[in-house]
């Protein structure tokens, strides 16, 4: 929106996303053990972040929109943190 040449930015972002997709596929060739899922999630999160910032214009929005964008991530963290606390501290009978 506020960008001087939005089409150029969008093209660059698209190229970045294509590159990250390539990285995703390339990374899948290797077995990182326990890090397989975290690495895949990290790359996907970077892609989602870039889409939210540029294609969804979050970068140009006011602080209230940022609050609404960030808060669900906090809830997602809670969902994973509490469920994981259960799963990793469960004692089998």
């Amino acid at each position: 929106m506020a960008s001087a040449n939005p089409y150029k930015t969008y093209l660059n972002i698209w190229l970045l996303l294509m590159f990250l997709t390539f990285i995703t596929v390339y990374a899948a060739e290797f077995d990182f053990g326990a890090l397989n899922v975290p690495i895949a999630l990290l790359i996907a999160s970077v892609k989602a972040g870039v889409v939210a910032l540029h294609f969804m214009h979050l970068k140009y929005e006011d602080s209230m929109t940022w609050v609404f964008a960030i808060y669900p991530l906090f809830l997602l963290f809670l969902l994973i943190a509490f469920s994981a606390t259960d799963i990793f501290t469960r004692v089998a009978n």
Partner: protein, 532 residues
């Protein structure tokens, strides 16, 4: 829609016939249609509950088979939760009141509002189609049974998935409306408390509903494609379903109750002729409830086999919910203190809300305590607790709203005396149904059981007799409401809130000129009211 700009006609007269309602973008008409829809589903689910209670008149089979019993309690739970109480007060009175209360002509996205209603209709239809092979899982769809049962789980869960979109879109509409459409001078600290409650509810709808949507998709994936999210044999975890389900469904409890709390905050000052006590405390406690409600879901799972550590964490946080809830209750009581209390029908329902919801809330603390919950989990104590909250709280709040805004909504008055008789029957009937269930629960009567031991017979019978009184009271309430006794003034209860400062029923576009707000919404017994 074509004669949308007719200022002189009220919203009820502005167009006749099916099309003028089903394609309307008027928030008031949508509110009324939601009210009718949830009313019909309430009656449907209530009939199921009457059959369930009738079955319990004697141990063993009384009138229906065990499988029919399982189907009926699932139908009762699923319809009451997903079709009645979750959309409930927020969609019906939220739609009707929020634009009036904030001084706007409609919600900010009127077409999206209509779209939400259509999605609600579609989701309801899909859910009801499952009646062809009715589900017997209970409304919680717990794995592994929901994976294994031969009944129509996919259709029901898909119906709930679709309904979720209606909930999310309505929530977004309300949040943005309250941010963008408040009349000049209507600052956040002058906003009616019903709007604050609806705002907190909308946050929950937007933030929590996607999780249950995805969870039910995972369930469908597991049932249909054999994916192993919840099946231990495939590396899944059945308790994970409960985590995901309650991550939504606990906040959903507050989606159900918060708008009703908003209603109580509106009704009590009007019939006490006093400004609301502790405005900011009530407003912020709604947000606090919305925040904490995301942190307590594990208290539904104390006996599921989840870890001891997380049990303790969830138990401690659960007690924290009692604080903002108690803040509301004390502030309502303080509002009445030394007020000029008028016991109208609407006020009686609100007072009953405080009384019954407090019982429901405090028994929730028993269930939040780990050691007590091990004994009480999955017994009638839980059934009684949640009905004291959901009926004693939300439904009594809804009934209070139906009576309080009846003149505004329909432009007519009902017979106060008859309404009070109906209230008395409902109040007595309700307590006879559910109080014995607390005792049954502490004695070990499990919930969702078709049969029971002979020593429970007397209390079960008492509970069933209560449903008859409750049913008569409810029918009498409907009779009273469908027999108006004359036209209503614009403001029969002398409220100072914005929605009463216009004709009853309101004109299609609400305000000829957007008002400028200069005082609090609760200036009762002050100079402002006397001048008005």
């Amino acid at each position: 829609m074509t004669d949308h700009h007719d200022f002189d006609k009220n919203y009820l007269e502005n167009g006749k016939g099916f099309k003028s309602w089903f394609f309307t973008v008027d928030h008031k008409r949508l509110g009324v249609m939601y009210l009718w829809a949830i009313g019909v589903f309430f009656v449907l689910a209530a009939i199921a509950s009457f059959l369930i209670r009738f079955e319990h008149l004697s141990p063993g089979q009384t009138i229906i088979s065990a499988q029919t019993y399982n189907v009926l309690f699932t139908l009762h739970g699923a319809v009451m939760v997903f079709l009645f109480i979750v959309p409930g007060v927020a969609a019906s009175f939220g739609n009707f009141l929020i634009p009036l209360m904030i001084g706007a002509r409609d919600v900010i996205f009127p077409k999206l509002n209509l779209y939400s209603f259509w999605i609600y209709c579609a989701g309801s239809l899909i859910l009801l189609l499952s009646l062809a092979a009715p589900v017997d899982t209970g409304w919680t769809f717990y794995t592994p049974y929901s994976i294994d049962t031969g009944t129509n789980v996919i259709l029901v869960t898909f119906g709930v998935f679709v309904l979720g979109f209606s909930s999310i879109l309505t929530g977004i509409n309300f949040i943005v409306s309250m941010h963008k459409l408040r009349a000049p001078g209507l600052t956040w600290d002058r906003l009616p408390l019903f709007c604050w409650a609806a705002y907190a509810t909308s946050l929950l709808q937007v933030l929590a509903t996607p999780v249950v949507g995805i969870t039910l998709l995972l369930l469908i994936g597991e049932r249909y494609f054999g994916l192993g999210f919840f099946d231990p044999a495939k590396g899944g975890d059945p308790v994970l379903f409960q985590h995901f389900f309650w991550f939504y469904s606990h906040p959903a409890v507050y989606i159900m109750i918060l708008p009703a709390m908003g209603i109580i905050s509106e009704v009590i000052p009007v019939f006490s002729r006093k400004p609301i006590f502790g405005y900011k405390a009530i407003a912020y406690s709604s947000l606090a409830i919305a925040l904490i409600s995301f942190l307590v879901w594990g208290h539904h799972m104390f006996t599921s086999g989840q870890s001891k550590l997380i049990n303790i964490i969830f138990s401690v946080i659960t007690f924290a919910v009692a604080v903002p809830t108690a803040i509301k209750v004390f502030n309502w009581l303080w509002t009445m203190y030394k007020g000029s209390v008028e016991l109208s029908a609407a006020m009686l329902y609100s007072l009953a809300f405080i009384f019954l919801f407090t019982i429901g809330g405090l028994t929730g603390l028993f269930l939040g305590a780990l050691a007590a919950d091990v004994h009480l989990h999955d017994t009638y104590f839980v059934v009684a607790h949640m009905h004291y909250v959901m009926i004693g709280g939300t439904v009594f709040g809804l009934f209070s709203a139906i009576h309080f805004w009846y003149p505004k909504m329909w432009g007519k008055m009902f017979d106060e005396f008859k309404a009070k008789i109906a209230f008395t029957l409902i109040f007595i009937g309700f307590n006879i149904v559910f109080f014995p269930q607390f005792i049954l629960g502490t004695q070990g009567m499990p919930r969702r059981y078709f049969n029971y031991a002979p020593e429970f017979e007397t209390l079960h019978q008492l509970s069933t007799y209560g449903t008859w009184i409750l049913g008569v009271g409810f029918i009498y309430m409907l009779y009273t409401l469908f027999k108006p006794v004359g036209a209503a003034d614009a403001n029969p209860y002398r409220s100072v809130s914005l929605e009463w400062q216009m004709p009853s029923p309101p004109p299609t576009l609400n305000f000829k000129e957007i008002p400028t707000v200069t005082t609090s919404t609760y200036d009762y017994g002050t100079k402002v009211e006397q001048e008005a």
